[in-house]
């Protein structure tokens, strides 16, 4: 790690003003991703602004009947929070599918949103990477790209967003609360992360010096019929090759509302409103699930080592929707997939 200055923010306004004074400074909360990137020399901030002691650690009811999760609530506390376990089990399950208990004890809610891709070329500082050095090229497109994206890619970048938690937050249509020099604002989850396009160095639509203060969950949690299924190279503690968050609202056998989000396949949690709309009014059975999987993956494009993800995603979508319809969600401690 390079040498750097360290400052502890006293409140959110202080954090924002310190960042405005030193635009190259970085906020640090859990540190699990940023310190790792600094050890690899990928991040070289001259100053760290420690926001980990700011009072953003509560989970509170909103006036609309949802929940507002403070940006500094650790991932483990969120996964085991009684309101999350009961009302948003899809979110609890997705969080427990990610990282390890030690990391979940450290990692914050806001930091989970802002974590960087695990594309190996971002970390390998001797190879070109448009994220690390804009304009240098993408080494993954013609390189080792087993873990890379199959949807929404560009000629400049085929990285994926690595979060599990964010896949569930996308399916639940969460909102991100942010504060910055221009005031506070609320960002729809679908508008928070970006596709790479020709500016893959921009990971989110957060503005410079803006800080995530919380994540808001709407009242509807789909807690009866949901499942989070993660497929990876190891049984635990590995990033997703493909993951699926499925949530259904059923009337008898008929689908009244559906949410479907994919992880490990794109630069952001992947949702397709057209595919979800195609499920409404259908019987909650395999033929409809297979049709929607084909629809969702219609523009998927594989590269040399990740073509398999398209078929894997198709089967994972069908399986996860089946689990959600049955009301038998995948348990993260159970490795058999039924």
């Amino acid at each position: 790690m390079i040498n750097f200055q360290y400052a502890r923010a006293s409140d959110v306004a202080d954090a924002i003003s310190r960042a405005a004074t030193d635009p190259a400074a970085k906020f640090i909360a859990g540190g699990t991703n940023l310190i790792d990137l600094m050890k690899y020399d990928v991040e070289r901030p001259p100053c760290l602004i420690d926001i980990s002691r700011l009072p953003l650690r509560t989970v509170e009811e909103t006036s609309s009947g949802g929940l507002l999760i403070g940006a500094l609530v650790p991932n483990s506390d969120l996964a085991y929070h009684p309101q999350i376990e009961q009302r948003y089990p899809l979110l609890a399950s997705a969080i427990l599918a990610g990282a390890s208990p030690q990391l979940r004890n450290m990692a914050s809610t806001g930091g989970n949103l802002l974590q960087r891709t695990r594309c190996p070329y971002l970390y390998d500082t001797v190879t070109p990477c448009n994220k690390r050095q804009p304009g240098s090229g993408c080494s993954a497109i013609n390189g080792v790209n087993r873990i890379n994206a199959i949807l929404g890619t560009s000629d400049a970048c085929i990285a994926t967003h690595p979060s599990d938690m964010c896949v569930a937050l996308a399916a639940l249509e969460a909102k991100v609360h942010a504060a910055g020099p221009a005031g506070v604002r609320v960002i729809a989850f679908a508008d928070f992360h970006r596709l790479p396009g020709d500016t893959p160095e921009r990971n989110t639509n957060l503005q410079p010096q803006e800080i995530v203060t919380g994540v808001e969950l709407p009242p509807k949690g789909f807690n009866t019929n949901c499942s989070y299924l993660k497929i990876r190279d190891r049984a635990s503690y590995a990033f997703a090759l493909v993951s699926v968050a499925a949530a259904l609202e059923l009337e008898g056998d008929t689908i009244k509302d559906a949410r479907l989000a994919l992880g490990g396949v794109a630069h952001k949690p992947w949702r397709d409103p057209a595919a979800e709309a195609a499920l409404r009014g259908e019987r909650a059975e395999r033929p409809a699930f297979a049709r929607v999987a084909d629809l969702l993956l219609r523009d998927a494009k594989g590269y040399a080592h990740n073509e398999f993800k398209i078929g894997l995603a198709r089967r994972a979508i069908v399986r996860t929707l089946s689990q959600a319809a049955r009301g038998t969600p995948q348990l993260q401690s159970v490795k058999k997939i039924r």
Binding site: D36, K39, Q102, L103
Partner: protein
């Protein structure tokens, strides 16, 4: 006095001579550096010492009382839950955090919630058995 870029792991080992906490990967992937901060298990390689100013840190050296082994230490001996031993202090600190969390009752749950600690000798079956024994005693 530690400089800002000193991790908690390096502060423990290099500044305080508490070498029971091991440096394995130094990237949060192996769990050898696991310690308890305010009773919660974390990877000490991925936090800065300065960020933990004022926090209560329990390392492997501090788990047991003066005269007796910690129940997890005894259980690891009883079940031969190690070979080379390099991951063991991290495994035991992680298991202490696991037992305090109270979320693992079955062997499947222990395996899943111990997945942040890697054992390259592959002593996993005996590690699970040792943790089951210590869990029953807790």
């Amino acid at each position: 006095m530690v400089v800002p870029w000193t991790t908690l792991l390096d502060a423990l080992r290099d500044h305080l001579d508490l070498t029971g906490t091991k440096k394995g990967c130094d990237h949060g992937q192996c769990g050898a550096c696991t310690v308890l901060v305010e009773g919660r298990r974390i990877n000490s390689c991925l936090t800065l010492a300065v960020m933990q100013d004022g926090a209560k840190v329990t390392t492997f050296e501090g788990l047991a009382g003066n005269d007796a082994l910690h129940p997890l230490q005894q259980a690891f001996i009883d079940h031969d839950a190690f070979q080379c031993g390099y991951c063991t202090s991290g495994q035991i600190c992680s298991a202490a955090g696991l037992i305090a969390e109270g979320k693992a009752t079955t062997a499947d749950e222990i395996r899943e919630l111990m997945s942040g600690s890697i054992c390259r000798c592959g002593a996993y079956p005996n590690i699970v058995a040792a943790i089951q024994q210590a869990t029953r005693q807790s």
